[in-house]
Symmetry: C2
Subunit: 342 residues, 2 copies
């Protein structure tokens, strides 16, 4: 899922996302709550209509950004008080408030409000974070069940409901992860995410946590690993049975000159590409690789041109979406042999 | 003609320009000479191939940017010594050198190296500038005639030749303008431009200079007014018989939140548009107005998102190109009554 932080996948027009075959994009609740504000988006018909994206969308709970971006945050059992990174204003987020904001945004999938455990974390810290996350999951679910018919599009799509996913935390402690997963499954969410990964831990640990938790999550509901990852990671996790992933990496790396290609990563700013007439990825059929050379992309980056971010991002997203398309195709061709973790 | 300063119409992908019906774009010789360098572009097959624009292109002579952007410039009869605005390096441009660079870039149309007279300018200064511009026009033409078959695409398109246009200067003195035009026409360029306008003078003066010069330029060759203008100006000049104009205004204004619409100019950053669900221009059929609201464009601008420049620029270019399409249609419908200045 390409990440559309502030209601836009940075520098990529919506029609370009469509032509790449993107089926679902993310919006960040924290950012949209602060600017332009969820009430404005509600009055404008919800996030789909506001940004003109008539396809699937998912909003996160805001929890991750509260912990990573905001200042002076203070966590209590009730919720989190924090200061906006934009203007220093003070805000208080509870599970109920996060859900209210997400219902106003009206994505197809909302996320329970969780507390993301940092890495590394002592066991006692991870236990406390787990306790909060489970309590907040319960409150998120209850509030969502009571109010989810208040989405802005309830009259246009009376048969549809917003889904709510629970988020498995527990730091890098497998028993805590298992406990969290089992308790969330008892609550019966519409889908399940594994959060708190890719926060600085070695990749072996990420993999271990996913392998531990995945078998505990119902196969007939979407299983989502949040915030991953590099191209080889997303392929590996998808083949293990992960249905959904999101990451800013393809677009953020693109803005910093890093292109993912079938021949490995290249830094398009390097002098060696100054006269390279090849496509960014000679084996890629995306609109950028069909039309432009490495020399041109290198020039755009060197010259500080806005088109650089657009073209680099379109290629990287095409590369990521291409991986998932190939994985899907191979799963469809041989479902029994690859759908299970081995 | 949309302006593609550094080999890109800022923030607008080439396919978007094509879908707007842009037939020709500009490149700035000064910028491309400094970065990535004309020899690199020559080795990459020329500017068309480098930026993947298989349609018409025009390069300016570099003179205007040398005078407006560079530092410590020193003008002699032979040429201009200047320092790069990028790194302070010293360069010397003569008419012959400007032509060599433009042949290496290989646009369809190159421009004679001129000295743009500032505004206001004393008559003695305008006379001196006119003397230089005429001498340099002669040298530009002679050098171009001797070398224009050295364009990078000479083997692919053996039947085609790069055109060279002369540039009428003369400040705001009608007799100097007339003298310049007559002398240039005697030299027999492939087309003629009127330069040194829109440099700070009142619009009445711009109009007076164009009205004075235009009848002296051959009707069977393109007549080009450089660096104009606002929407009502370009319509007025086109109806007077001007065939070509270029201006950074639609794209530069777009990046600063200014949209040109059928209802007048709007600053899309204004709070009044925060919840405005209308298209940027309700009477416009461009891809941006068909898909996005003023509220969304306002949010993108407020949030500092790169997509803001892209969408605003696409709309403004559509608005400008739409004006010219309407003028062309009305000229074709009633050529005799409007093709002549009245």
């Amino acid at each position: 899922m390409p990440v559309g932080t502030q209601g836009t996948v940075k520098s990529v027009p919506q029609d370009a996302l469509e032509s790449l075959g993107a089926q679902i994009i993310l919006g960040n609740t924290y950012h949209l709550y602060l600017r332009p504000g969820h009430e404005i988006i509600r009055r404008l018909g919800g996030l789909h209509q506001f940004i003109s994206w008539p396809h699937a969308m998912l909003t996160d709970s805001g929890g991750f950004q509260v912990f990573s971006l905001s200042e002076l945050r203070k966590v209590t059992d009730d919720g989190v008080r924090f200061r906006s990174h934009l203007d220093g204003s003070s805000h208080f987020f509870t599970p109920e408030h996060s859900i209210d904001v997400q219902i106003a945004l009206g994505a197809d999938i909302a996320m329970a409000f969780d507390e993301c455990t940092e890495y590394p974390a002592e066991r006692s810290r991870a236990e406390e974070s787990l306790r909060l996350t489970l309590a907040w999951a319960r409150r998120s679910l209850d509030h969502h069940r009571a109010h989810r018919d208040e989405v802005p599009w309830r009259n246009e799509f009376p048969g549809r409901a917003q889904s709510l996913f629970g988020i498995v935390q527990g730091g890098m402690y497998t028993d805590l992860r298992r406990e969290c997963a089992e308790r969330l499954v008892e609550m019966d969410f519409d889908g399940y995410a594994i959060g708190g990964l890719s926060v600085g831990e070695p990749r072996e640990l990420t993999l271990e946590m996913i392998a531990e938790v995945l078998p505990l999550l119902p196969k007939d509901k979407p299983r989502y690993v949040m915030g991953v990852g590099y191209p080889d990671e997303i392929e590996q996790y998808a083949r293990m049975g992960v249905d959904m992933m999101d990451c800013v990496l393809p677009t953020r790396a693109a803005r910093h000159a890093l292109l993912f290609t079938s021949e490995g990563r290249i830094n398009i700013k390097n002098k060696q590409y100054a006269e390279d007439q090849n496509a960014p990825d000679p084996n890629c059929n995306c609109p950028v690789c069909r039309r432009y050379s490495r020399a041109y992309l290198r020039h755009l980056m060197q010259a500080g041109e806005g088109l650089s971010a657009t073209l680099n991002s379109i290629h990287n997203l095409a590369y990521y979406l291409g991986i998932m398309q190939r994985v899907r195709a191979s799963l469809e061709a041989a479902p029994a042999s690859v759908a299970e973790p081995r």
